[in-house]
Symmetry: C2
Subunit: 449 residues, 2 copies
Amino acid sequence: MKADVVVIGGSAAGIVAAVTGKASYPDKDFILIREEDKVVVPCGIPYIFGSLKSTEKDLISDNILTNAGIALKVGRVVAIDQKNKICKMEDGTEIEFDKLVLATGSMPKVPGWLKGANLENVFTIPKSKEYLDKMLEKLEGCNKIVTIGGGFIGVEVSDELNKKGKEITIVEILPHVLGIAFDEEIASIAEEKLKDRGINIISGVGVKEILGDEKVEGVILENGEKLEADAVILSMGYMPNTGLAKQSGIEVNEKGFIKVDEYMRTANPDIFAVGDCAEKRDFITRKVSTVMLASTACAEARTAGMNLYKLSTVKIFSGTIAIFSTAIGETGFGAAGLTEKMAKREGFDIVTGTFEGVDKHPGTLPDAHKQIVKLIVARESGVIIGGEVVGGPSAGEITNLIGLAIQNKMTVNDILTAQIGTHPLLTAPPTAYPLIKAAEVVARKMNPV
Amino acid sequence: MKADVVVIGGSAAGIVAAVTGKASYPDKDFILIREEDKVVVPCGIPYIFGSLKSTEKDLISDNILTNAGIALKVGRVVAIDQKNKICKMEDGTEIEFDKLVLATGSMPKVPGWLKGANLENVFTIPKSKEYLDKMLEKLEGCNKIVTIGGGFIGVEVSDELNKKGKEITIVEILPHVLGIAFDEEIASIAEEKLKDRGINIISGVGVKEILGDEKVEGVILENGEKLEADAVILSMGYMPNTGLAKQSGIEVNEKGFIKVDEYMRTANPDIFAVGDCAEKRDFITRKVSTVMLASTACAEARTAGMNLYKLSTVKIFSGTIAIFSTAIGETGFGAAGLTEKMAKREGFDIVTGTFEGVDKHPGTLPDAHKQIVKLIVARESGVIIGGEVVGGPSAGEITNLIGLAIQNKMTVNDILTAQIGTHPLLTAPPTAYPLIKAAEVVARKMNPV
């Protein structure tokens, strides 16, 4: 078998690399190889535990590939022969390629030191329909659930299970859940919302052991406290799935990600890597980063797809801007770039400004939400390097506004003079648009009168 | 009496000029003079006819001024003595100023040629609490209402009155309602939504006469058709309120707006003008513009406030980007910059791209809305010069993303490589984010393979 371009991996990054590549080079043959029979929408996974009720409602249709004229093969690639440009599959098939895109994704971290992590009813959240279907079925019979790890996945899964009436406790080793993505004062708001919804949160303490004979019976914390549980969800982060790359002589960095340049090429110019498996460099700190996001993965995949056969200096991936958002109940949360804490730790001299307003105007309108914007700004240049948002359903797109500002290296003055369209039902008022008011707070601190 | 800075006008632009000015120059005394006893939130006015039920819920609190240490005077300025730097008020008070900001706003256009325009129960929508209170009371007894003019105000007021069970007909002389802000295919979607909600639309035909003896009885269209009506709302646009400026020798342009530079100064460097009364120049066409928006007004007001005593070349107003948004029922609509029609008329060689997706992911989530993004791009440079959006509650902020892209002179390639944060409940999917997919459509048309 032979294809001009072979993409390994069928989740967001693989799909987007294949579709963008095929659209950019329609004369080339594309084949996408993946292990899963059906592919779940990765960011939708937490919602199968509540709002969506099943994985069937969280599937990516193969029509995206077939309509674009991309061939699909289900199976496992076991080796890449770089010299002869061949992918070897478990079933013996060999596929020759001209260009190869690795989009092998990531896998949940399971801490080897954690006693009881292999008991029945201890789950992780992998991107596998089969696993998730079984997990959903088993969770039906469980009532007391402990989530270990209060990052986005842990929080979202817990909130969804809570909707189904389960008794949920999140255990987070950091002082606050979502404590990496948000500064303390914003993370605290998220925590309050979760508690209001009936979720127990134990933060600032680690887990010592998962108890049980065959099945989970409880969790012992580092402070000796014992929590009863008939299921445990481990959401302690993800690690890049790069075994195949390593075995095939493709270089990975010190964190286990496949090394790539700004065109998303590995050291072998015919082999690209995109998504969770590919090396990331922070847009602002320029350090190697471990932030894995479907949105970043898709941006990388578009870059690879466009540069497969013809490089373009105006279509490069110039570093990861961590842009997150989530919702807890009716409240949206988002962050872009660096938090205040991160910025300080990285050595930036910064000025921050926060403004609290409302996401409709007048605030007497039905369904108005509090809207908070915090900006993190480099003092020397006035350039925006981060922002955090709390609000209603528009919080995700306001976070994207901050992301776009970071990407354009906009300064506080650019924001102060920015034009923003406003509407009573859709946005904050023009007189007190929190993004601009937060910039005013920063400006006044930078140039005290 | 004497104040360092006098601001005339108490709506959005006046308030923001005063508050920004006072924050920038806290040592100066500020006084704001306005005619109204109480000030309504301008963009909120349409919503007093339905959702808010009264003007009381649509008021701007004077606390914004008093908390900022700005003095307030209610009354009418009848003359400005430029030479002696004095404002003369109707009650005889004279107020000396060092700097003056004119924020005298706009007034509804009432066509002199329209017979019957002065009948009882013919209304306009001025920014006057007193007028609106009376109007609300009178409309209580009216059932058949004809709105003449299907711009944003006409559409929003009609939709709100419709919520109260009134029988509404919008008459629009252009082929489509909202036909200036949106291209035909987007305006048509808005029209369909309005019709689905039970609003009658008659477009492509003008009004000949309003019928009635004392009170309105009907409307005769140019095609001879007669509509019964017990009230008529004229929403045929606004004109700048610049009588005072003209009488005082302050130059206005050919459209009646006070001439200003990019610092918002008139020819007299001690007199600034901001908001609906101030001259506008389009960011893209560089032509004099008549677009009046509260959001633009506030951007101008911030510029004036910051530049009152010290000019800053990085805090200028570099031209109006028309950024509009509105909502019809659950559907949000927005536009930024030029429409396709406008761009062509102005002589731009353009490429457009439209993508239709969904505002949540997977689209099976409850309350997911169709999301459409259209981009208008200059062929020669790839620079984004306009965009239109249809979606859910986030449509306003997506419109602002396009606005920010226009402001930053971002190109299609910048959008193709942009990083966008996504979340199932808050945004479109990362694999098919309509803003980026629309850019892909444009890119493929620009560089056919």
